[in-house]
């Protein structure tokens, strides 16, 4: 059974994952039995009573019901679904009632990345860092359309609504790095709206919290920029190889450095540091012709040094850069 669990499911990392998988296997085995009864019964009857070559067409039995069997068909499923229902609700209540000592992390969904705000004041993008064996309360909201926050290993999922909070919680029992998916369709970048949850031992988490935001201070600007490019989810919409996704490729911008770029309202501007900076902070003002202005503002998400780092990184890009 353990091997079957491993084959069918992702790892069981949250405290309720085991219970939910057991519920699955309860329904699974009950279903297999019912399914075999139907299929074997059907094949047996169809073959036993088949119309063979040379058989005479004749009147058949007038048997058309059996009260005992009908009651049986009614009662057995009724018992099974009652167990399933009670089990499902009991586990669900466990998943919805948040322990009092939970750490509260605020998750914001935005097309197409996740922002995580920690109680101590730090914030990360597309990377949720949590301590192991501690209940984590996740308070979700969205700034634009519906998203859904799904961590398969935790068996936890909740829709992320604009202008309304939703709540979920989990406690991880193993350190490691696991996937987060968006499961409510949210537009072009829906399938790229992935993130990671990094479960750390308690001690490491405390160190991480203390260092968060300052760890990168001594990196050279270009390297920091390269790091931010994926960390701040620029890569969801801007490629480095020249192909256009939701937004123009960084490579193209880099190659056009110093040249004029045309916007969708017919105006144009020279690509320079100021242009890139304002495009990151106020992306809705100048929208490159041929693109939809869907980028959110990064005001408050990047400090000056980080902006400089991204610009420096962008300027280093060449046709053959491999990142």
């Amino acid at each position: 059974m353990d091997r079957l669990t491993e084959y069918l499911f992702p790892k069981q990392v949250s405290s309720f994952a085991h219970d939910i998988d057991n519920l699955f296997f309860f329904i699974f085995y009950a279903s297999v039995v019912l399914f075999l009864i139907v299929v074997i019964g059907m094949m047996y009857l169809a073959i036993k009573y088949r119309f063979k070559k040379g058989d005479e067409v004749r009147l058949t039995s007038s048997l058309d019901h059996n009260t005992f069997l009908e009651v049986l068909f009614f009662v057995i499923p009724l018992i099974l679904v009652t167990i399933t229902f009670v089990w499902g609700i009991r586990s669900y209540l466990n998943m919805v009632i948040v322990p009092d000592d939970a750490i509260e992390i605020k998750v914001t969904g935005q097309s197409w990345f996740w922002t995580f705000d920690y109680p101590e004041g730090g914030s990360t993008l597309n990377e949720l860092v949590v301590p192991v064996e501690t209940p984590i309360k996740i308070v979700l909201s969205s700034t634009d359309v519906l998203h859904s926050f799904y961590i398969p290993v935790m068996r936890a999922k909740m829709d992320v609504l604009p202008n309304r909070y939703n709540v979920m919680w989990f406690d991880a029992n193993q350190a490691g790095e696991y996937e987060i998916f968006c499961t409510e369709y949210c537009g072009t970048g829906h399938s790229n709206m992935n993130a990671k949850v990094i479960v750390m031992p308690q001690k490491m988490y405390e160190v991480w919290l203390a260092e968060a935001g300052s760890a990168d201070d001594d990196l050279p600007l270009e390297e920091l920029g390269a790091k931010l490019y994926s960390k701040k989810a620029c890569n969801t919409c801007h490629t480095l190889d020249g192909t256009a996704l939701v937004g123009p490729s960084y490579l193209q911008t880099s190659q056009m450095w110093g040249q004029e770029r045309v916007f969708d309202d017919g105006s144009s501007a020279i690509i320079d540091e100021n242009y890139v900076r304002s495009s990151i902070l106020e992306p809705q003002i100048q929208i490159v012709a041929g693109y939809q202005g869907v980028m959110p503002t990064y005001q408050g998400l990047l400090n000056d040094r980080e902006l400089d780092a991204l610009i420096a990184f962008l300027k280093t890009l060449k046709e053959d850069s491999q990142i």
Binding site: P10, F35, V38, L45, S61, V145, L161, T183, H190, N192
Partner: protein
């Protein structure tokens, strides 16, 4: 018998006699070919999606194209094929024949609803050609109020098709109540009629709500009325209530007629009285009713109240029980019968197999705690394809094969039909069974690109989807090929030895006014213990 050459296909002649026909059989045929056309279009979109999913990256189409493809695949299959196909096509052709009536209650209304369907279809074709729509067939706000694709035309199309569906339902209800031939009491009705009756009840009660929901969605886009759009003070979860109040019962609009077809095919091809007639009849009505109480199980992760979660989970299980008993009844119908492995029967048997899986996997999704893991993953995709394609479409193909000689007076090649039926069965399982595994492992639906860990299962599924497409294509082409002129059967043909009125009381294809003489009821629809009608094939 009068002039045996006179049948509804050839009399009267001329294109106008088809476009302005009030004959339910001709209207049914027009629905049939309209439905098959959109089945083809929706199928191509599905194959395109599977091609994109064969490998993890954007190898075949872009994200936007993929999103448009899956939206249109869903919307076309549901609104233009599955919902109208069985009631509109088979229902229209057969209902008055099974009741011994000369036509449906309101023939003009019937033609009108076909034209509404056509107008809605034109909207969809426009959307298809003008760049698509990318909201998913569910149109969840606020994405649907902000998307700059063709949401307005699509919702307008659905609004219009909704009225077509309402009018068909209304027509059938009046027909079943008032147009039965004297002596045909409720318990002598063929089960297909019961199924259509239950379907029609759902159609007239649920469809108005989708109509008004679509109107509100359009107004939300035009005026920002603030009922569904959170930016205007509205509530997106309320939209989901509105949407699923229709769309869950709509699942029963799709599946109940399939139950009806299976309840016809199995007794006829087993030459055996149907098991548990009253139970099947009543369970149809009770499923239709309970279906209205469970819509919230589509919203287990939406953030609705905990009370709603519990209520919806509880009631959901009560749909399962009558459905389960139906499956046992069909199975036991074969007991002590004479089972022939004809194409319709093969489809019916594969329906039993596939629908049982579809139904049982629904139990997993009804348990709230488990649904939270499985919601919006490929488990759900596989589940509803087992119900909709493995259930409804397989039953539809079975019904088409069963009544083809009745509708057209021709017989298809049964060997090819059997091969196609088996092909559909195997390839269907090959395509969709692996998707349960994908879902359990956490692969979300509506993804154009995905994590490479899922690639093996996805490419397996894609491979079989190609075979599935080919099998269905062969099955349908085999039917159409039989329409060539040299293939005419004798009008008195009853190839299955069936006892329902459409086989015993009129010719194949039927007379323009259905019956040459007023039909007199001599036996019940499943009296294989009292009456022998030998299967006859005459060219």
């Amino acid at each position: 018998m009068g002039d045996t050459n006179q049948n509804y296909l050839t009399h009267p002649k001329g294109i106008m006699s088809w476009l302005l026909t009030l004959d339910h059989k001709r209207i049914g045929l027009m629905y049939l070919f309209g439905g098959l056309f959109f089945f083809f279009v929706g199928g191509l979109l599905a194959l395109g999606m599977r091609a994109e999913l064969a490998a993890p990256g954007n190898d075949f189409v872009s994200n936007d194209t993929y999103n448009s493809m899956y939206t249109l695949h869903g919307a076309i299959m549901i609104f233009l094929f599955i919902i109208p196909a069985i009631p509109g096509a088979l229902g229209n052709i057969l209902l008055p024949l099974m009741l011994g009536a000369k036509d449906v209650a309101f023939p003009r209304l019937n033609l009108f609803s076909f034209y509404l369907y056509s107008i809605g279809a034109i909207f969809f074709i426009y959307v298809l050609l003008s760049g698509g729509v990318d909201t998913g067939w569910t149109f969840y706000t606020p994405y649907s109020t902000t998307s700059n694709t063709n949401v307005m035309s699509t919702t307008m199309g659905i609004f219009i098709i909704g009225f077509s569906s309402i009018l068909t339902g209304l027509n059938f209800i009046a027909t079943v109540h008032k147009m039965r031939t004297p002596g045909l009491t409720w318990y002598k009705l063929p089960l297909f009629v019961w199924a259509l009756y239950g379907t029609s009840l759902v159609q007239i009660t649920a469809t108005p709500v989708i109509a008004i929901t679509m109107v509100l969605l359009m107004l939300e886009r035009l005026l920002g009325i603030g009922i569904f759009d959170p930016a205007m003070g509205g509530d997106p979860v309320l939209f989901q209530h509105f949407f699923w109040f229709y769309s869950h019962p709509a699942v029963y609009i799709m599946i109940l007629p399939a139950f009806g077809i299976i309840s016809e095919i199995i007794p006829v091809h087993s030459r055996k009285k149907v098991w548990g007639y009253k139970f099947i009849a009543y369970s149809t009505l009770s499923i239709a009713f309970i279906g209205f109480l469970v819509w919230g199980h589509h919203m287990f992760t939406s953030g609705q109240s905990v009370l709603s979660q519990i209520v919806f989970s509880f009631i959901t299980y009560f749909v399962g029980i009558p459905t389960g008993v139906k499956i046992f009844s069909w199975m036991l119908t074969m007991y002590k019968g004479q089972v022939s492995f004809t194409p319709p029967m093969l489809y019916a048997l594969s329906f039993l197999f596939l629908f049982t899986i579809g139904g049982l996997t629904g139990i997993f999704l009804g348990a709230v705690a488990l649904d939270i893991h499985l919601h919006d993953t490929y488990f759900v995709v596989a589940h509803f394809h087992y119900v909709m394609q493995g259930g409804t479409i397989v039953a539809f193909l079975g019904g088409l094969h069963h009544w083809w000689p009745k509708s057209f007076g021709t017989m298809y090649n049964q060997t090819i039909a059997n091969i196609a039926a088996i092909g559909v069965f195997i390839a269907f399982n090959g395509t969709f069974f692996p998707q349960f595994l994908l879902g359990l492992r956490g692969m979300p639906r509506r993804y154009a690109t995905y994590d490479p860990q899922f690639v093996e299962v996805h490419s397996y599924s894609t491979f079989w989807s190609g075979i599935l497409g080919i099998s269905i294509f062969i099955g349908v082409m085999n039917l159409l090929w039989s329409l060539r002129k040299s293939n005419k059967l004798d009008p008195g043909t009853n190839p299955w030895g069936a006892l329902t009125m459409e086989w015993t009381h009129t010719s194949s294809p039927p007379h323009p006014h259905n019956f040459e003489e007023e039909p007199v009821l001599t036996h019940g629809p499943y009296d294989y213990d009292k009456v022998i009608v030998k299967p006859t094939f005459k060219k």
